[in-house]
């Protein structure tokens, strides 16, 4: 990156199981306006808008027709990324780094309470080879989990410990509307959704909206910026599960390496202070530890058991509670980004990692972690 970018303001909705009191466009407007207010800015201070949203989750073709202006785009240069919300940060950063733009308003959302997620996952699949198998997030995760468990002889109760850690963290996060802590025993008592994955080992769908104001010109910030974006990387794997090594996130390894190189991170476990990882399942978090080089391959279970990734550990992972506590399906990566900004600015009420200076945010989408984005945030 030619220069670090400054996060001028952030906002996020409460993450809820359903939001009957508000239309999605109303929530989008409220949160976009809140991010501007957090930055001490108005819409006039923003020269472009980047949004990330899913037509299928939003329940209409070209859903940005209705929502783009709610997100502040009226007569602005706006672009919609049809990838996970974290990719909206990547797209906005690319725009700002061209030098053609100064300040972006970035908004992403999901309202899964108004759609049938499993039905959407099934139509995500190609109709020839994959759809007849009924491949979904749960079943693709199960295939991945089975491969990983077998290869590294992962103890069967270990993923439950990831869930217990994140749900305990989530119970202290005031932005979660139903922050129920669960124990490892609760997880192990939950039903198998797709063997070996249990219901509570999968992310918990939640409605949510997140928004960020990002600028390349620190002088434009009306207040002290929350954080600097100093590194990013993103990459995809192939689509067919059969062509991939399901025991590792190869694309995430590439994305992480690129982001680390930009910042000069060589020992991520010790140099990062906090990580917000796309724990779309307990297995996603464990496998991400390895792709992020927090530990060697096959050692994620041991890293977890050591307590290194718990609150108070060397590198707390998902102090917010992660997606296992609340998963705004398409926008979860932007939520991770917002949480990291709150951490390095000391504003992560109830879930603050003390003295956090460097944070890693992760976005993930696709069957068994096909597509990844990584962003490194540092205190100002």
């Amino acid at each position: 990156m030619d220069q670090p970018l400054s996060v001028a303001g952030v906002a996020q909705s409460r993450y809820t199981r359903s939001t009957p009191e508000e239309r999605l466009e109303e929530t989008i407007y409220r949160i976009a306006a809140a991010a501007l207010a957090d930055a001490g800015m108005t819409r006039d201070d923003v020269d472009n808008v980047v949004i990330a949203a899913s037509d299928a989750v939003d329940g209409r073709a070209i859903s940005s027709m209705l929502s783009a202006c709610s997100a502040g785009a009226y007569l602005k240069d706006e672009i919609k990324v049809a990838d996970e919300g974290g990719f909206a940060i990547i797209a906005a950063a690319l725009r700002l780094l061209t030098g053609d733009f100064e300040t972006s308003l970035i908004v992403s959302w999901s309202k899964p309470s108004e759609c049938e997620l499993t039905a959407i996952e099934v139509i995500a699949a190609d109709p020839f080879f994959t759809r007849p198998f009924g491949l979904t997030h749960a079943s693709s995760t199960a295939l991945m989990a089975g491969c990983y468990r077998k290869r590294y002889a992962l103890p069967g109760d270990l993923p439950a410990a990831v869930v217990a850690k994140n749900r305990a963290n989530g119970s202290r996060n005031p932005s979660l509307a139903s922050p129920d802590a669960v124990t490892a025993a609760d997880v192990l008592a939950s039903r198998y959704v797709a063997y070996p994955v249990r219901e509570l080992e999968l992310a918990t769908a939640a409605d949510g909206v997140a928004a960020v104001v990002l600028t390349r010109n620190k002088q434009l910030c009306r207040k002290q910026p929350l954080a600097k974006l100093t590194g990013m990387g993103w990459a995809t794997e192939g689509y067919e599960l059969g062509e991939r090594d399901l025991t590792r996130f190869a694309a995430l390894e590439i994305a992480a390496k690129r982001a680390y190189e930009m910042v000069g991170i060589t020992d991520p476990l010790n140099e990062l202070d906090v990580a917000e990882i796309a724990d779309l399942s307990a297995y996603h978090e464990l496998m991400a530890y390895e792709a992020f080089q927090f530990c060697g391959t096959g050692e994620a279970g041991r890293l977890l058991t050591s307590g290194a990734t718990a609150m108070g550990g060397t590198l707390p992972v998902n102090p917010s509670g992660g997606c296992l506590s609340a998963w705004p399906v398409f926008s979860a990566g932007l939520t991770r980004f917002v949480e990291c900004c709150l951490q390095v600015s000391g504003r992560a009420e109830g879930r603050q990692v003390s003295g956090a200076k460097t944070a890693l945010a992760h976005a993930c989408a696709g069957y068994a972690g096909q597509n990844h984005a990584v962003m490194i945030l540092q205190a100002v």
Binding site: C69, Y74, L75, D77, L97, T98, D100, A125, E240, N371
Partner: protein, 393 residues
């Protein structure tokens, strides 16, 4: 525009309704391979990939970008999907530019693909874009929404159905010289005026077909361009504007922009011209590839691009100002009226504009084209993109 960037390769498939012999990712792959060949690069020399894909209900696979990752050579690389409705291809080209101009990549492949025949009825899919509470019950769709724009233009400026018909006639004549065009069927003014009414003032010949097909471009940074390409299409300027979804807000005393006029496209074009240093577009633009799915869209667009004064789009078309031998050739490719691969249509405009300034447009070449402008429109005529390409830096 701190870093100089250019399009160094263009690839397109033949546009047609069904393209039965290929799946959607295969269409994307074919266009990508052709763009790489045109650029003289291999996929290993590409740093990042951008995919343009609009409503996925048209291809029937919601996560089309994930499906196509391998087909477009993105595996192990940065990969991003853009969706701004009909403007998708224009936005994808701009996203490709961001990758290079930001310094984050040196070469990028931008590919947009459509296989509309996988859906029963494109209008049904596009109709689901409208608000379920207030608008969907009226049967609002892409055709009548554009007809409203045309009607308003007629009301404001006296534009006639005959003027609109001349646009269809010219587009079809141009399409005859484009071997990739979907509609290869000449049209006379009498035939055009005799086609059935679709939605007043639009007759059948005023409407685009729905097409399948794909197109791709390779964009590179200056030093790569100079190493591998003798006739690049330099990206000289670009712009985009998003307007309100609600068409009623673009009429009446409180309007900021007029639904009949494409004032929003004018804002995007003004930005693109500013970057390109163009102050007299009516003299400086050599050729325009305009996203005009209906004849009445072109009338408003040529005015918004400053190729003629407001209200003159119809009369100018009628006297042949935009013909191949006219003042400024508009849509030498035959335009969207001959091929409309929805996700790809706005990028087709960029491809054709690039070919013109590369002097590589075959039988549809505008001799000596120096400056070309390409546009895109999406949503309820609310997402607008413009890109200016030049033979010189």
């Amino acid at each position: 525009m701190a870093r100089k960037t250019a399009i160094i390769g263009v690839g397109q498939t033949k546009y047609g309704f069904k393209s039965e012999e290929m799946t959607w990712p295969e269409l994307a792959r074919l266009a990508s391979a052709r763009a790489l060949e045109h650029a003289g690069l291999t996929i290993d020399e590409i740093d990042a990939v951008v995919l343009g894909l609009a409503p996925t209900a048209l291809i029937g696979v919601h996560a089309g970008e994930q499906w196509a990752a391998g087909a477009v050579g993105a595996v192990g690389k940065p990969f991003m999907r853009i969706n701004t409705g009909g403007a998708t291809g224009g936005s994808a080209a701009q996203a490709g530019y961001y990758h290079i101009a930001s310094g984050m990549a040196r070469t990028v492949l931008v590919v947009s693909a459509e296989k509309v025949a996988e859906s029963e009825d494109a209008q049904q899919v596009i109709g689901s874009a409208f608000d379920p509470f207030y608008e969907r019950p009226f049967g609002l769709n892409a055709i009548n929404m554009c007809a409203f724009q045309g009607l308003r233009h007629m009301q404001k400026y006296g534009t006639t159905q005959r003027q609109l018909a001349t646009i269809a006639v010219r587009s079809r004549a141009n399409g005859m010289r484009n071997p990739l065009a979907h509609l290869h069927k000449p049209l006379t003014i009498e035939q055009a005026l005799a086609t059935r009414n679709i939605c007043y003032p639009l007759k059948l010949s005023d409407c685009c077909p729905r097409s399948s097909g794909a197109c791709a471009i390779v964009i590179a940074v200056e030093d790569v361009v100079k190493r591998v390409c003798t006739r690049p299409a330099w990206i000289r300027g670009y712009g985009a504007r998003t307007n309100t979804f609600h068409m009623g807000d673009k009429m009446g005393p409180a309007l900021d922009t007029d639904h009949g006029d494409f004032d929003d496209l004018a804002l995007a074009a003004r930005e693109a011209y500013r970057m390109a240093g163009i102050t007299r577009p009516e003299r400086e633009v050599s050729v325009a590839e305009i996203y005009a799915p209906f004849t009445c869209s072109e009338v408003a667009a040529v005015e918004a691009l400053g190729l003629c004064p407001k209200g003159q789009g119809g009369p100018k078309a009628e006297v042949g100002a935009w013909d191949m031998d006219g003042e400024i050739p508009v849509n030498p490719s035959g335009g969207t009226l001959c091929s409309n691969p929805i996700s790809a249509t706005a990028q087709v405009r960029v491809c054709e504009a690039a070919l013109q300034v590369m002097q590589d447009a075959g039988d549809r070449q505008v001799p000596g084209a120096q400056i070309a402008i390409a546009t895109g429109i999406g949503g309820s005529l609310q997402f607008h993109t413009a890109m200016v390409l030049g033979a010189d830096m």
